[in-house]
């Protein structure tokens, strides 16, 4: 159990997916303009990431390896992720229509989030067990959500500030993300315990 907690902690903070491993930057920069949207995007991505980690483990373990077609890994993972996105949308719209109304617009965007494919590939490269793979996905999602909310809060505060003209827009956002990334270096060494 401690091992699984270390996996979550390490994926979420120490080796943060976005700021240290550079996965999922498009939605990180694209969906962080407003705090509300960032919360929605974080939640929706969390659902899909965890599901996709489990699905791609199952597909690799019970389809690709028995049939000896592991070279179809990339194609099948991308299809699995698409299916996970559809599945999440379906379940949300049936079971939690209110939540679906809030998150609905973010869900299709997740299919092109490279963090999702990244987690699936990293799990398969490290040949993690099903539980470890799911925890790794959940940790990655948690880390993604945390930095998304942090960045969007910072960007809301930056809105009225007098930024030098060439830096307005994406450049200042990247500087902000860089400072966040520096701050996350403070978590180095935590995964030892």
């Amino acid at each position: 159990m401690t091992e699984l907690i270390v996996i979550i902690f390490s994926a979420a903070l120490v080796n943060n997916f976005v700021l240290v491993q550079f996965l999922g930057l498009c939605p990180f920069l694209g969906a962080s303009r407003k705090l509300e949207g960032a919360l929605g995007m974080g939640l929706a991505t969390g659902l899909v990431l965890t599901l996709a980690s489990a699905f791609s483990y199952l597909v690799e373990r019970f389809v690709l390896i028995p049939l000896d077609v592991t070279y179809l890994r990339l194609v099948s993972f991308i299809v699995v992720i698409g299916a996970a996105v559809q599945f999440t949308e379906l379940v949300l719209s049936r079971a939690f229509p209110l939540l679906h109304k809030v998150l609905g617009i973010y869900i299709p965007l997740i299919a092109s989030n490279c963090a999702v494919l990244g987690v699936a590939l990293l799990n398969s490269n490290a040949s993690r067990s099903l539980a470890a793979a799911i925890f790794y996905g959940a940790g990655a999602a948690l880390g993604f959500g945390i930095v998304l909310v942090l960045l969007s809060s910072l960007r809301e505060r930056l809105e009225g500030e007098d930024v030098p003209a060439p830096f307005r827009g994406s450049a200042i956002t990247l500087v902000t993300a860089g400072i966040l990334s520096l701050a996350f270096f403070g978590f180095n060494g935590f995964s030892r315990f």
């Binding site: 390490s10 120490v14 080796n15 070279y71 194609v75 180095n188 060494g189 995964s191 030892r192």
Partner: protein, 225 residues
């Protein structure tokens, strides 16, 4: 109604055709590259094994002679650890452990530890780590030659209590600003030696047994459990 049905049928047909073409393309490129990839990987493994063991010291197929060892206390991981066994004229010559130093500053450090049959270190290399760049990464041979300090050491030289970094009263230097990383590596190398000391005969026996049943790889003892 019939129109939308035809539409749906067309969609399914289009996806199916594309999927078949995609799978075809991939299996063709797999055919072209698979053998070469396998050779590349084997070459890379052999190259890294030669970093920790002089090729003149053995004469067997090193990459092909592997066994798996499990010892969470001494080998640093609950997973099976790969051990390459080198022989010379059929006699045990050396072993190379893909050991793990579990207590690095940022998680596990992966090592290759080459030990000859007399228990003397032939070489140590770090194959993967997440240590802090600029501090702990001096364990990499590309950055500093610290790791060559293990060459020629054994469990009796230095004596066991001195198998530690200088800060802990041992014989191995630490880096300025980073003690945790070298401490983890020194411990891991020492533990690997201890394991080798206790299991040398058994490892080589298992490798020999695996070779005998080579004709029937299904029952080979060299497979991971």
């Amino acid at each position: 109604m019939a129109d939308s049905e035809r539409q749906g049928l067309r969609a399914i047909l289009a996806v199916a055709v594309i999927a078949v073409c995609a799978a075809g393309l991939i299996s063709v490129s797999h055919r072209i590259s698979a053998e070469r990839i396998e050779r590349n990987v084997a070459e890379r493994i052999l190259r890294s094994l030669h970093e920790v063991l002089d090729p003149s010291l053995y004469d067997n197929d090193l990459v092909g002679t592997q066994v798996w060892a499990i010892d969470p206390d001494l080998l640093g991981t609950t997973d099976p650890v790969q051990v390459f066994l080198a022989t010379r004229n059929g006699e045990p010559a050396a072993a190379i452990f893909a050991a793990v130093a579990p207590r690095g500053y940022n998680g596990a450090i992966n090592l290759l530890v080459g030990v000859d049959a007399a228990g003397v270190i032939q070489g140590v290399r770090v194959t993967d780590h997440r240590e802090t760049p600029g501090l702990g990464d001096q364990i990499e041979i590309a950055i500093s030659d610290w790791v060559t300090g293990f060459d020629g050491t054994s469990l009796s030289d230095p004596p066991l209590p001195q198998w530690a970094v200088a800060a802990d009263g041992g014989r191995f230097d630490a880096f300025t600003g980073a003690t945790v990383t070298p401490r983890a590596v020194v411990q891991a190398v020492r533990d690997t030696l201890v394991y080798f000391n206790g299991h040398q005969a058994e490892l080589f026996e298992r490798a020999a047994a695996a070779e005998d049943v080579e004709t029937n790889p299904e029952s080979s003892g060299a497979n991971p459990p």
